[in-house]
Symmetry: C2
Subunit: 551 residues, 2 copies
């Protein structure tokens, strides 16, 4: 038995384009003479489609498109294609998350997802009815169990705590399935593939069934899908794997393993995040209809890393850096930025802001004369720079990238409508300590130091007043990042964090800053998710609320 896994990069809503992608990949895969061809979850409409699913005519049109695909692939082997299926009754959610079996020019059957993830970035209960029963495909003599993404993430032997009361995989095996297929759109987070492979291998071994897993690839808004579709034999041994972070198609022979391909997958945390962010940036820019990007270069590590990611993602000829020195900018920062521009061979412009600062001072002088200088003046500089960057973006048709890291976005060490401006937060889910690690990894990749060493070694500073450093306002980043990890990713309270040995004052201060920055993050650009708990769609905190833990 041979199965082709189509690991495609769909654009959400692009029915025609996605159909073409599927048809082309099927025609290419046919050359391997598979018995069955399988796409990823919702491959025809792209994952996550979000509230597009509430538009009835969109669903209708997607089924018309599926008919067209079926007609076009009349002579192809059976194909399973991810699609949303209308709930024809007048009770329940409007749709099923389905997988349609297409063959001989017709849609024969539609398998429906049972477990509907509704946590973190997922909202599937918003749209879908669950399928109650097991989904079995009889293909010649083979009894194949079909599952969709979350269906396979509830194994009682793998998880201490299970989210759901039923296990669709167990039910498939009880119904006689000898092979499990899982069609997924499983977003990337650091190290998730190891978890997936361990879980999938364990399930194959436990039930003594082969297991085939097809994942989406590509960036869609804040989510990056890493692909890495794979297959396991009934001992839980991996027998095939497609590439990471690229479109791919592999045909797995479940009996004769000799020609199966197992793509290497030896990322470090640094290289894995780098690759993910490059893919995410490329897709966000291109799928939004843009070609070029620009960003402010401060002389700091964050903008340096984002410039490097952008150069790799959309080509250095499509990246512009804008230097906007103020009287508080050190010569070192300007020099570092210029060296970075040279290393990356990107374009750059310098727009000094002191004249504009003066103009604001003049207009605000009378209002502000009775107040001392405070954070207002610092924010003003950040916002002047944002206005310049947006003017450059508007005029040139380039997309502005925002460069804040997760540590500063967490504690609000960033200016709303200032350095937070931009279409996408490239590293907004990367903690500062990881930003350094990725930059050092990049510099070790053999082309000399892309990111000037002085950027890596100097104290981080926003340079919004003379002699300022981040550590005037914040705990050291290594400590801060640990506290943030416990609070944000594990949802721990101050008591729990302090009980782990972290200093009480720093813990309370950090959590207070996180809470008080909620209003900023609500207006932040979307940012690429790379950790288990990113801000944005997966973080839904109230704003006008009270800190429950205060005495």
């Amino acid at each position: 038995m041979k199965i082709s896994l189509l690991q495609l990069n769909p654009i959400v809503g692009d029915l025609e384009g996605n159909a073409k992608r599927i048809i082309a990949a099927v025609k290419e895969s046919e050359k391997q003479c598979p018995d069955l061809i399988v796409t990823s979850e919702l491959a025809l409409i792209g994952y996550p489609p979000r509230d597009l699913l509430l538009v009835k005519q969109f669903i209708t049109k997607s089924w018309e498109t599926l008919q067209t695909i079926a007609a076009e692939l009349n002579d192809s082997p059976p194909i399973i294609i991810g699609i949303a299926e209308p709930n024809a009754t007048n009770v329940g959610r409007p749709l099923y998350n389905g997988a349609a079996l297409v063959h001989t020019g017709k849609i024969h059957q539609c398998f429906r997802k049972t477990l509907l993830p509704t946590y973190d970035v997922f909202d599937e209960d918003r749209y879908f009815e669950p399928s109650p029963g097991p989904k079995i495909l009889h293909l010649r003599d083979n009894v194949i169990g079909i599952s969709l993404c979350e269906d396979i993430w509830n194994d009682r032997d793998f998880w201490n705590r299970r989210r759901y009361h039923v296990d669709p995989i167990e039910d498939l095996v009880k119904s006689g399935a000898e092979l499990i297929i899982n069609i997924s759109a499983s977003p990337f987070t650091m190290g998730k593939q190891q978890l997936r492979e361990k879980m999938l291998a364990g399930i194959a071994r436990k039930y003594r069934t082969s297991l085939v897993y097809v994942n989406q690839v590509g960036g869609n808004d804040d989510l990056i899908f890493d692909g890495r579709s794979c297959a396991f034999d009934s001992q839980g041994t991996m027998i095939a794997r497609a590439s990471a972070f690229n479109e791919d198609a592999i045909t797995v022979d479940l009996t004769d393993l000799s020609s199966n391909r197992i793509e290497k997958d030896d990322f470090t945390p640094e290289s894995e995040i780098w690759r993910a962010l490059v893919l995410g940036t490329r897709d966000y820019v291109h799928k939004s209809g843009f070609k070029a990007v620009l960003l402010g270069l401060s002389g700091g590590i964050d903008s340096a890393l984002v410039a490097a990611i952008a150069s790799e993602a959309v080509g250095r000829e499509n990246v512009s850096g804008v230097l906007m020195p103020s009287p508080y900018s050190s010569k070192g920062s300007v020099d570092d930025s210029l060296r970075l521009v040279e290393n990356l061979k990107i374009r750059s412009t310098t727009l000094p802001i002191s004249q504009i600062m003066d103009a604001y001072d003049m207009v605000l002088h009378q209002e502000f004369s009775r107040y001392p200088k405070d954070i207002t003046e610092e924010n003003l500089q950040a916002r002047i720079r944002a206005v310049l960057l947006m003017a450059m973006s508007n005029k040139s048709g380039s997309l502005l990238l925002t460069t804040g890291n997760k540590s500063e976005v967490s504690v609000g060490y960033c200016t709303l409508y200032g350095d937070m401006c931009g279409a996408i937060g490239v590293i907004s889910d990367v903690p500062k300590s990881m930003v350094y690690r990725i930059a050092r990894w990049l510099n070790s990749q053999g082309n000399g130091s892309i990111i000037p060493e002085s950027i890596l070694t100097k104290s981080p500073s926003a340079e919004l007043r003379p002699g300022q450093t981040d550590q005037d306002s914040l705990p050291p980043y290594d400590l801060l990042d640990q506290i943030l990890y416990h609070h944000i990713e594990l949802h721990e309270s101050p008591d729990e964090i302090i009980a782990r040995g972290f200093p009480a004052e720093t813990t309370y201060k950090t959590l207070h800053l996180v809470k008080n920055a909620e209003f900023k993050r609500k207006q932040a650009a979307p940012g690429f998710k790379v950790t288990d708990q990113a801000f944005g769609t997966g973080w839904r905190m109230p704003i006008a609320s009270k800190e429950w833990y205060l005495p």
Copy 2:
């Protein structure tokens, strides 16, 4: 049988404050000698708590607080208090949405919600397990059916399409309930109370049971809760109603109706939205810890209405208007703003922006010299104003209000990081045609014209270039608002809208603008929901996607 309904205004997360509110209200209601006292849904933690529910220690602390309440109210009648209950097993979502029965210093029982709304602004499947069975409270000889909010919104005789397969109210009646209690946190939308009362009366009549409905009141972020708790006899006749948009407590005697209070509720759409926005603004400002607000006054209808709402909400002495004329501002606009300031008796400041425009022109001159003038220069003015407003906000500690209406937010006729800046979108869910209606209603309220008549009669204009009017870029607002209603509130496709008789070109253009403004709205301030489909938490569209309906 007498029941007290506590219609309170909780702050999300403020366990101690909410407990005090509950205790004080119970002690006050006790004077009426009720047999039972009932709060609204999740009254102890405030609705919607969102991801605060994922913080285990917060849940633990809320139960400790409930114990304290129980002890404090040792001698009070039985009380039902809304609270989140941990799911003690290791399967399923972490919590139940519960209602605890507190009496004689103890927590006796906890009733769990069955139907968990997961659509529009609701995400309850994200947090809660459903309760499978009916929830019956035996109180002396009375068999009382307890239901929580959504539990009562699935009646097969009322809805053409039901969201859920079970009807908890039907189950309660089958289990012998002679009285139905529903504890709710049901957010306001225009005209929703009529719908509620019709539905509740119908259910009471159908099952021949009395029905008592307790709703939350107050604004929490984008949601405004209107209160209007009420009770019906077994013929479906209303026998009590608490006030709208205010904290209130009423004690309903189900047998002797003579002393029951039915609060008048004779709002027009205009007065109802006005009251809702006043409450929403007041609570957002105060619950965020602010006292004063400021806003830019353009001389247009939107900022005029928001200034009037703000004056009513936080007191005119806490409202500052900022005029920021450019060379393109008409004298009429400045005069209109000054007249408004005078009518409202608010403070105002004038900060002309031409000097700052010149400074930007100088800095950008070299970059822009080879390009013609375009929208960049218009956005620049809007953003200069935003920087000034944020500087004023930072320096004075006042909250900036943003004044865009739903029509312009829909089609993106607004500048990101410009006029979109602000902590809360006061009228961002109010279509432009309704903005006019509310302003005219306000002027008819007997204190003379608060909003200068010239603001109501002149052509709307952003005044970002000489002679500009909104209708240069947009269809007439009456037409636009109708197309937007069908597209946004009803999720209709271009074909469906055109089939209703709307012009094809305008329809396609409008929908294209809506789609292309998704990236702006993703970074918009939260805005008060007053229609069935607001942007923000209830509108979750992809950004980097394709328009599926294009040929």
